[in-house]
């Protein structure tokens, strides 16, 4: 697992069960990339991270954090 933690899956669920595909379409990445981000197998670029946070009307650090454990 990569050291960038996130709560993207939880935020999707809170936003009326938004699918990975829908989120991917809104930020410009594939469904598979969103899945990889949620599973911490891929760290998004800064731009994509900001776009994801914007979709949920959150700040960047409310969605992503550094977690070395």
């Amino acid at each position: 697992m990569l050291p960038i933690g996130n709560c993207v899956r939880e935020l999707r669920a809170e936003s009326g069960e938004m699918t990975q595909g829908e989120l991917g379409e809104r930020v410009g990445v594939t469904r598979q990339t969103i899945a990889a981000i949620e599973q911490r197998r891929y760290s998004p670029s800064l731009e994509t991270a900001f776009r994801i946070a914007k979709v949920f009307n959150k700040s960047l650090i409310d969605v992503f954090w550094f977690d070395e454990t």
């Binding site: 990569l2 991917g24 410009g28 990445v29 594939t30 598979q32 990339t33 899945a35 990889a36 599973q39 197998r41 891929y42 998004p44 670029s45 994509t48």
Partner: protein, 139 residues
């Protein structure tokens, strides 16, 4: 499966089929004639077959996955593509240098041609193989 991965699988299979056919044809003809066969007929067959397989395959893939096909590679897919290209570059470099070295020893132009062509085929197989491995692994 992402569209880019499907495309990589298609190209891997097409390249493998054509590469194996080419290798078999050249080796078989070499055994029969006791010399390396002429390059042009094999090269033309290989090129035309690969083009037909890949173009038809990509068209069928695009029709079956229209929406995905219209999307450009996203940031993660671009990393996988670059990784594949880097692997291909390494394989091609090793293959061509090896081919040149054995030309210095054997001085057979046809053999040099086929060695370089095989290096190119192996490089393409490496490229698609690395891309697919990256897609399967997810990172």
């Amino acid at each position: 499966m992402a569209f880019k991965e499907k495309s990589a699988w298609l190209m891997l299979i097409a390249t493998l089929v054509v590469g194996l056919y080419m290798t078999y044809a050249v080796v078989q003809t070499s055994i029969e004639l006791q010399q390396i066969p002429a390059v042009l007929p094999v090269f033309i067959k290989l090129t035309v077959t690969l083009i037909i397989l890949s173009v038809i395959g990509q068209i069928v893939l695009a029709i079956a996955n229209r929406k995905q096909a219209e999307q450009k590679a996203d940031e993660r897919e671009k990393v996988f593509i670059r990784r594949g290209q880097a692997a291909a570059g390494g394989v091609l470099a090793v293959g061509v240098v090896t081919s040149l070295l054995h030309f210095l020893v054997l001085s057979d132009g046809n053999l040099l041609f086929y060695s370089c062509l095989l290096s190119l085929v192996l490089a393409q197989i490496s490229e698609y193989g690395v891309q697919i491995a990256s897609f399967r692994r997810g990172y």
